[in-house]
Amino acid sequence: MKKLLTSTAAATALLMGASGAQAEGKLAIYHWFEYIPQELLEKFSAEHDVEVILDTYDSNEAMLATLKAGAIGTYDVAVPTDYMVSILIGEGLADEVASGELKNIGNVKESFTDPAYDPGLKHSIPYQGGTTSFSVDTAEYSGDINSTDIVFNPPEELKGKINILDSQGEVLALAAVHMGIPQCSNDREQLKAMNEMLQAAKPHWASFNSDTAKEVLAAGDVAVGMIFNGFAAKARESRDTLQYAFPKQGWVNWMDSVVLLKDAPNRENALKFMDFLLEPENIAAVTNYARYRDVVKGSEEFHDPALAEEPEGNPPAGIEGVFVQACDAETQAVYDKIWTNLKK
């Protein structure tokens, strides 16, 4: 949908912008939509005399499908979320970065240099981290919003005014958090209960939409919307009664990473781009635009001061979020069935 627009527009703008025409080389990026500022791509393009091509997607799964359907060898880097990084590595779709190939890798904050999804950062660099929860229009509901009940067992005022992300991974992860059961559980009773809980919740939902998640909240189509924290902050700018929830049961954490893809046609430029994004000033530009958080040392001094006080970006202490897990084939089959039941 909108991703088609954004990618085409961005690509066209870039092609026009790189008016040198005879750029040294190319760099093909496969990226989440509405995430990286145009000026930053132009800066990279100018610094390294590289023509940048940006295509966008609206879900990790859509990206995986495109790569598997033959786009591998077309793109140099992709920007999947943590669990999808490990899937890409497992599927053999990620190339390995030899030690010493990234001169700025030392800029990554220590606690992020050995993540579970890519031990030792052999294939990726951390890009932006954030949370997925939901925003509530406090003009429509004045009660306590910090509970997953708002989404899965909503109060009367909010029934029929809820937008859910059209993304199986995040919805089922949040459902598991709501029920206090482990993700990818293969316990039959727990899976059955999850199926029933979602079936009971669905009549209260207005729509499933990911790429208009921000817009439907800002425009008042819905009063509750599952959303990422950066989008929530931007939605609040258009409608100041919106408030981002940090449910007491927990929320979804994530870390998007830049992955070097297998058979990258411009591997050299891909590495240059990864190094470029590990420079504090550059990654801070992404952070200021997307409103998520980078994990590069020294980026804080380039951050927009508003970020430090922003409610969406500063989760309360004492409650933990969970990372989405990649389920095994057998459990995934049940998850797929639950999802189809939900949308049939």
Partner: protein, 309 residues
């Protein structure tokens, strides 16, 4: 339209007959590469084994069709029952597409008739006006429709400003919105073929009917409609078939709460499910259904041509 070939009867000279075979070559090449090859690929994929997280394993399997027709419970080990889920999704899509077709016909026929009965110079302008909105991409038009229909959109502001209603009429994310979207998207596909048929209609026949004391309704039913029937049927097919597979209107205007055929298939390739053989099988079943409808139409057409002599 389809009946046109049989009614003319001008003999084609041998020169043209011979030329015809190789002139068709570009069309055949295009059709086989762009239509036949993808369909065959889908057919083959629908009989393969699914690979976890998308892709296929080259082993023959009927699992995709089995999944479509048989329900084995949440965990896949209950005794097989008939699976109503996908049948219901298909039925919903057929119903939506059918309603959109009827709506388009109800508005499109009078429109086409009106245009075709204007003086010749005016007709061009009217047809031009019909096509203007279609210079803009379908996606953008559908998103714009969202803006119009939403609770705080211009339509509701207008209703409330005029005092017609007290609160906003909730239209977005309803079946009504989907219908409006489909109708708006495909209306010209109804108007243009009917216009072409009515334009060729010989209006002296209507005058003759009037001379023989037929009233306007009888003239329309027994003289005009049979003559323009091919145009009407072509219009119905052109609206019904794309509506059946559409996913923009259901997703953007209907809120994607319920799968339509198009989004169900999309999910198999782009969603978590990653079940390519099942997506291919659902596509093949959809294709078969559309083919059956077209064959029924073609046979009915052939029969009525025969009866007409």
């Amino acid at each position: 339209m389809a009946g046109g070939a049989t009614s003319g009867g001008n003999a084609v000279t041998d020169t043209y007959k011979e030329a015809r075979n190789w002139l068709l070559l570009p069309a055949w090449v295009t059709l086989s590469f762009l239509v036949l090859a993808p369909v065959l690929l889908m057919l083959v994929y629908s009989f393969l084994t699914k690979e976890f997280r998308g892709g296929v394993i080259w082993e023959f399997s009927l699992a995709a069709y089995d999944q479509f027709f048989f329900d084995r419970g949440l965990f896949g080990d209950d005794p097989a029952q008939i699976e109503w889920t996908y049948i219901a999704i298909f039925w919903r899509s057929i119903w939506q597409a059918g309603a959109a077709t009827l709506l388009s016909l109800a508005i499109g026929f009078p429109t086409a008739y009106f245009i075709a009965t204007r003086p010749e110079k005016q007709r061009v302008i009217w047809v031009f006006l019909i096509t203007i909105p279609y210079w803009v991409n379908l996606l953008i038009r559908t998103v714009s429709m969202r803006f119009l229909l939403r609770d705080e959109g211009p339509l509701n502001s207008f209703f409330m400003a005029t005092g017609l209603v007290d609160g906003p009429v909730h239209m977005i994310n309803t079946n009504f919105a989907v219908q409006v979207g489909l109708f708006y998207s495909y209306l010209p596909f109804m108007v243009l073929p009917i216009y072409a048929a009515v334009e060729r209609y010989n209006f002296t026949l209507s005058e003759a009917a009037a001379d023989l004391y037929a009233n306007k309704w009888i003239t329309l039913r027994h003289i005009v409609l049979p003559a323009v029937k091919p145009g009407v049927i072509a219009g119905c097919i052109l609206v019904f078939v794309p509506s059946l597979g559409s996913f923009l209107a259901p997703d953007l205007l209907g809120g994607a709460k319920n799968f339509m055929i198009g989004s169900l298939i999309e999910e198999q390739f782009k969603g978590n499910a990653g079940n390519w053989p099942f997506g291919a099988a659902a596509s093949m079943i959809l294709l078969t259904m559309v083919l059956i409808i077209l064959v029924i139409y073609a046979r009915a057409q052939a029969r009525s041509d025969k009866e007409a002599g």
